[in-house]
Symmetry: C2
Subunit: 338 residues, 2 copies
């Protein structure tokens, strides 16, 4: 049985969509217990709307809510009875295996480190985002935690990302690339130039070299490593360009009777194709390197993303990802000492 | 009369498309002289295919070619008779007002600084790219020169970019933003955090704060400032995402008879709409801050982009952009001393 603490109060669609995601998850699998954390009254009002195996959802009361605009560290320190702090503590004490939240990213990041703590040897836990590509999916990390990382941190991101892609997503010998502005080894800013030889020398990953931003949407590299500033730019350009193009095309399609008719005909095929590019299929962004699992979903996450994020936690636990990360870093450490 | 030196040998489509661009430009305007630099025989063979006012195109022989794969500084120093070195020298000596090339970006960057030289006070000349957005165009800079700039350099990019957008593109009081991972002033990596207050304090620009990558395709900010690593990621994600989505949609549209029929109906409207997003409409990326104008086009540039890049040079000269940049930096310098 896996126990997932779920932040019922975080994100734009809380609590309704969050609860729906929990209900969908326990309906699909018998071996999941979801501990829904937040304001009891609101949660129960939502739960009442659904039929589900009652013994698989447990409500854990928390009276406070951390808003998106709040200062992360301050909020974690002061709002002791917030859904986020209470949920993270459930992981800390071992009552839950994982914590899923659509709330304030900074607070999740701070709370994960302050309350749950890092695996020994991990310098900084990164956020990994699973992004849909033409050829499948890639894990982009860091995309939210360390904006000015040291080269050694990027190497750890590569190692943790490889373990995740191999054991949670099931990709054998995942390839690792570093975001760069050209294919040649001597290209890049100081961080990339310093990190490149370290990745090349790292024996427990399958490093394939630079990945130009142009090729990220095409896919083909399983683990794509970068600092969190670059990771944010990659993710947001992906979303922003896609959203803009859809908007522009929609406008274009409505410009004549002929194209309107055409739009009606293409809609079903287009919808089906674009569904493959729906990021919510893969659940949220795991924060790797903590002594427990923390998954951050989009602030705008709806039922499907919450549902899939909960299921993702199960594989994570079954595959003992944290133990594997610990072993991997210890092996590397030992090799470096020899 | 404006004199533009044109690198006939640079880029994927040289010399045919380059020459076609030159022919189109002199056919459109009587006040342009294009000095086509490169291998005489090849150039003349192409020129023969077209009708145009002979007195407006002059062939300047250069026997060598700098390839895309060559080491920039080495190539500039060693290939004295390359189309690039000869073309840049024409600007240096004042025989030409501008140099346009689709060739090796690194060599253009190195050659511009070594041969033509910087305007006094300019720390580093950036490449600015005009990118089409939902609301018009934005100038993104730096997108190719300084991957690890100092904060003061970003301030100069903002100043030079503002002058360009106001006087070449004709936008009154252009707005300036810095690429960031959130809207708040305290967000960002060390570079952005150090640069933000400097931009805020800069009196000769209209600074509007942070621009999240998600909002770049939407547009609305005239000058978008960042380091060249980030600029490259923004540009390449833009191109890569768009290319990937077109590919995916095309495949989707061909998936059923119904959608194939629809595709035929929507094609004209879609083409018209997407034309607005064709970057080649705006010409190439100017390198700002040199004692002459250097414009880099895409390596894949075709006739239209070359044509528009040549026309762009005219406005640049007419508006005395270099003089304006010099005055602007001197005024700022003086203010800082007071």
């Amino acid at each position: 049985m896996i126990k997932v603490a779920l932040d019922a109060m975080g994100g734009d669609n809380a609590p309704a969509e969050i609860i729906e995601g929990a209900v969908a998850a326990v309906r699909e699998r018998k071996d999941i217990l979801v501990m829904v954390v937040g304001r009891e009254k609101e949660i129960n009002a939502e739960l009442k709307k659904h039929t589900y195996p009652k013994e698989q959802i447990q409500v854990v009361p928390a009276s406070e809510v951390i808003a998106t605009s709040e200062h992360p560290v301050k909020a974690i320190r002061e709002k002791k009875d917030s859904s986020m702090v209470v949920g993270l503590k459930l992981v800390k004490t071992g009552e839950a295996d994982a914590f899923v939240s659509a709330g304030n990213s900074g607070a999740i990041l701070a709370g994960g480190q302050i309350i749950i703590g890092r695996i020994k040897g991990v310098e900084r836990p990164p956020f990994g985002a699973l992004i849909p590509t033409e050829q499948g999916i890639s894990l982009l990390l860091d995309c939210g935690a360390s904006v000015d990382p040291r080269p050694s941190m990027l190497v750890q991101f590569a190692q943790m990302g490889s373990i995740y892609m191999e054991h949670v997503i099931g990709i054998e010998k995942p390839s690792v690339g570093i975001v760069n502005i050209g294919a040649e080894e001597e290209k890049g800013n100081a961080l990339v130039q310093e990190t490149f030889p370290l990745l090349k020398a790292c024996r427990n990953i399958h490093f394939v070299g630079s990945v130009e931003a142009r090729d990220i949407p095409k896919g083909g590299t399983d683990v794509v490593v970068c600092d969190a500033f670059t990771g944010n730019v990659v993710l947001k350009m992906y979303e922003g360009t896609a959203a803009m193009l859809y908007g522009v095309m929609k406008k274009g399609l409505m410009s004549s009777l002929r194209s309107k008719l055409g739009a009606l005909l293409i809609l079903p095929a287009l919808k089906k194709t674009l569904k493959d590019f729906d990021a919510s299929r893969y659940g949220g962004a795991p924060m790797l390197g903590l002594k427990g699992l923390v998954v951050k979903t989009h602030g705008s996450a709806k039922r499907t993303e919450i549902h899939n994020s909960i299921l993702q936690c199960q594989t994570f636990k079954e595959q003992k990802i944290n133990e594997k990360i610990k072993e991997c870093l210890e092996a590397e450490e030992q090799e470096n000492q020899e």
